[in-house]
Subunit: 147 residues, 2 copies
């Protein structure tokens, strides 16, 4: 069984590469930027989330907003860069979600180099994030940067 | 890229093994039994449905009820038995959906041998179908067999 390809196939359907922006006085330019990789599933079929956690060796499984669903999530930028991004480069997504992943990977790599702390990098990250997930719901409101 | 495992992973999340029963005077015991394997996806990411169709060499892609979604579906019992069932035996599902697949496979194999045309086989199929998909919505109302 080729587990890596299996998990990529699963994530192609059910996975989410997200970058959220939260207002914060403690962060550069007033925004806390949080990239995350997550996969949700009903409690009765949560075995697959445990497989993700075991295979990637990082991340947490926790109840989602609804009580019936569990979510596997990785939010640590170093772990996203060291474990999640390399996995999806070795076992690439085969749908248009691949494009979102590549943008997500660039944002994570920029953040691991601290580029979000500089104006040019911060602006590029907001521009990249706003171009993600356009095939589904728009998750990223237009952000006005006040520096 | 291990495409077989990838497609099984995708189907573990997004695929459906279903058996529906429709009232019919033309069918044995008054019910038309229809097993189907299907996968749905937004139009913008329909590449993956084409991969299923190419890999399995059968089935159709058509718009779902909502206009934004496409569905890849295999409903022919001979194709289910020759192509779909062997694929998921070679590349097994890793979540509890595997149990539903095994029941589905047994129903397809019974139907390919014509066992649904005999009372004992028909009753076993309704019993098997009623035990499927119990982790999600119950799709199968209790069927009273009037012979």
């Amino acid at each position: 069984m080729q587990l890596g390809a299996y998990l990529s196939g699963y994530a192609d359907g059910e996975g989410c590469f997200c970058v959220t922006f939260n207002r914060s006085k403690r962060h550069a330019f007033g925004w806390d930027i949080r990239p995350s990789f997550s996969v949700s599933q009903n409690r009765e079929r949560a075995q697959i989330l445990e497989l993700f956690q075991q295979t990637f060796g990082c991340g947490w499984i926790r109840p989602d907003r609804s009580d019936r669903t569990l979510k596997y999530e990785v939010r640590s930028v170093p772990e996203l860069v060291k474990r999640i991004v390399p996995h999806f480069r070795s076992h690439p997504l085969l749908s248009a979600k691949h494009r979102d992943f590549e943008i997500f990977a660039e944002i994570c790599e920029m953040m691991s180099r601290g580029e979000h702390l500089m104006r040019e990098g911060f602006e590029r990250i907001t521009m990249l994030a706003s171009s993600m997930n356009l095939t589904g719901k728009k998750r990223y409101p237009r952000i006005e940067i006040k520096v």
